[in-house]
Amino acid sequence: MRLLLTLAARNLIRRRRRTLLTASALGFGVAILCLSRAWTAAMATAVVEPAKDGTIGHLQVYRTDAADDEGGEISFVQPHNGYRLIAGPRALVARLLADEPRLAAGLARLSIGALLSAGDESMEVLLLGVDPATRAAVYPAVGVIEGRHFAPGENGLLVNRGVARRLGLKPGDDVVALANAVDGRLTGAKLKVTGTWTVRGLEAYEWGACFVDLAAVQELLDAPDQASVLILRQRDARADAAPVARALNDRFRREGSKLRAFTWEEMGGPFIGGMLVTRFISGILDLVMVVIVAAGVTNTALMSVFERTREIGTVRAMGARRGRVLALFLVEALLLSLLGAAIGTGLGAGLIATFGRVGIPAFSEAQRYSYGGDALYPVLDLPGLFSVAGLMIVICVLAALGPALMAARLRPAEALRHV
C-alpha cells in the first residue's frame, strides 16, 4: 500500500500542471457547492424556520374535500370561509398527539376572512381562530410586541403590526369584525385588541392577519366545535416532515376518515416557495457543477491511462493483478480529489465567511421576500463543508472508475506493445 501511495502521489506530481488544473477545477466546484448549501441553509434559517414557527407549522391536516365548494384546490393562505370543516378538532388533535410520538404539539385553527372596523376605518383581514393555551407550543415564533395575549374565552384580538398601523389600533381598543356564516348570513362580533404580534425573525414583514380565540371565529362562522385545519408541530423541528405526514395519512386511510396531512414543503407559501425555488435552482447548478468536475476527473484519468499504457503493461508483467492496477488509478483519483477537496473547502469557507460578513444582496423584491431582508448572511457550517467535500471525493473516485477499469482490463502484451 505504501508503494502504491508513493507511486500514485508521484504520478500526480509528475504531471504537476495537469494535477493543479484538475484539482483547482475540483476545488472551485467544491467551493461553489459549499456556498450554495450555505446560501439555501441561510434562507431556511432566515425565513423558512420563522415561517414554520410563526405561521404554517410543520404539518397541516385538512379534510380531503375541504375545498370542494371553492374550486377543489386547498389554499394554504386564503381564508377558509367556504371550506368543509373538521368536526371535533380539539379531540382529534389530542388523539393524534397521543398516538404519534414524533409530534410535540398541535392546535385547531379556523381561518376566515372578515371585515375589521375601528371607528371610520375598515380593512379586510384574516382572522386566525386558535386556542390561546396551545398557541405558544405550536407557534413559538409568534411574539407579542405590545400589550398581552388574549386569555381563553376572552373576545380578545392580537393584531399584526400591519393591521395595527392601517387601522391605528392599540391595546385596549374595540373593533368590530363582520363575516359570513357558513350559510351566508352576515355575522358580527365585537373584539378587544389585547396586543400586537409579529413573527420573530420576520419583523420586517406585515400581515393582514389577526389571532383570535377559536370560539370567537366559530361563532362568527356559526360552526361550533369545528376547525378548517389542524396545525401540528414535530418534536424534532429540523426533522423531515414527510414520514410523519405519511404515517398520518396511512392512519386516516385505515380509519376511513376524510382527512389529509400536508407537510410544510407541500404547503409552500410565499417564503417557503421562494426558498424551494432557490433550492431547486441551486440543486440544478450543483448537479451541473458535479457533472463538470466529474468529467474533468474522468478526462484526467483517461489521459493518464493512455499515456501510461506501456507502464500498465510493465506492472502487469511483473505480476500485478487487474485489481492492483484498478487500485492504482483509484488511489490516484482519491489523492487528486483530496487535494481538490482541501482547496475547495478552504475556498468555500473563505467565501462563506466573506459573504457572512458583507451579506449576499437581494436584487429584487422577490429575493427580499425569500431572504427576509435586504441581504442574506450565510453561516459557516463545518459539518456541511466536510459533507460536500466528502461527496465530491466519492464522485471523483467514481468518475475515475471507468478509466481505471479500462486500465485494469488492458491485455499485458498489447499494453507493452503500445507506443
Partner: protein, 225 residues
C-alpha cells in the same frame, strides 16, 4: 521438469482484415539453468514467443507449460501470480517506472509477494548491489545512463528469485560495449544463481554468449545450434 515448454504453438493476430501468423507450430523446451537466445530478424516472432512463455499472451493453438503448469488452465489472476512468483522480465526499453527511484523500481515486484517492508527493502538493496548499482539506489531512471537503467531492470527481474527470466532484446538500446557488459552480467547471474534466461536478439554478436540459440524465421523455429 522444464522451466518452459511449448508444444506445437501457433499465434495469429488480426491486422485489420488480414490474419497474420506470428508463430507457426513452434515446439521447444528450456531446461532449468539454461541461457538461451532466440535469434531472428525483426518480425520473425521473437517477442511473440517471449510473450507466450511469459504468460502475457495466449496462443491461438498449442500448449504452453511454465514451471510445470499449463497456462491455458489459469485465469487472469492466476497468471498474474505465476508471473509474480516465477518469471522476471527485462525489456528492450528498460520499462522502469519513471517516478520511482532505482531502489523502489527493484522493490516494486515484491509488492505482489506481500513481504514485510523491511524484508522487501533489504532484498531490493541486495539485488541492486548484485548489479553494481548500490550507490545510485535513490536516483530516478532519468538520472541514470542506459546501461545503468538496464542493470536496474535486471535487478528488478531477479529480485523475486524467479525460475525464468525473459529478456526481450535487452541490448538493442545500448551501445555495443554496454550491451556486452549487460550480457556478461546476465550470464554471471545465470551461473551464480542458476536462473534460466531466455533472451531475444537480432544482433549476431551477442549470440556468442548463449549456450543455445533458437532461430526463428517467419514464425517457424529453425534448427537449434
Amino acid at each position: 521438469m522444464s522451466s518452459a515448454r511449448l508444444e506445437d504453438v501457433s499465434k495469429d493476430y488480426a491486422l485489420g482484415r488480414t490474419q497474420v501468423s506470428a508463430l507457426r507450430g513452434v515446439s521447444l523446451a528450456v531446461e532449468p539453468g539454461e541461457f538461451v537466445a532466440v535469434a531472428g530478424p525483426s518480425g520473425s516472432g521473437k517477442s511473440t514467443l517471449l510473450n507466450l512463455v511469459g504468460c502475457l499472451d495466449h496462443p491461438s493453438a498449442g500448449r504452453v507449460v511454465v514451471d510445470g503448469r499449463d497456462v491455458a488452465a489459469l485465469d487472469d489472476d492466476a497468471l498474474s501470480d505465476l508471473r509474480a512468483q516465477k518469471i522476471g522480465f527485462i525489456f528492450q526499453s528498460f520499462n522502469l517506472i519513471p517516478v520511482l527511484s532505482a531502489l523502489e523500481n527493484v522493490e516494486f515486484p515484491l509488492l505482489f509477494r506481500g513481504l514485510p517492508r523491511a524484508q522487501s527493502r533489504a532484498r531490493a538493496e541486495r539485488a541492486l548491489d548484485e548489479v553494481g548499482l548500490g550507490d545510485v539506489a535513490r536516483h530516478r531512471p532519468d538520472e541514470l545512463s542506459g546501461g545503468q537503467r538496464q542493470r536496474v531492470a535486471i535487478a528488478r527481474a531477479l529480485v523475486t528469485a524467479p525460475v525464468l527470466v525473459l529478456a526481450d532484446e535487452p541490448t538493442a538500446n545500448l551501445d555495443s560495449k554496454t550491451g556486452e557488459a549487460i550480457l556478461d552480467l546476465m550470464l554471471d547471474l545465470n551461473r551464480k544463481q542458476g536462473t534460466t534466461f531466455i533472451f531475444s536478439t537480432h544482433d549476431p554478436k551477442v549470440l556468442v554468449h548463449a549456450q543455445r540459440v533458437l532461430r526463428l524465421a517467419d514464425g517457424r523455429l529453425e534448427a537449434a545450434s
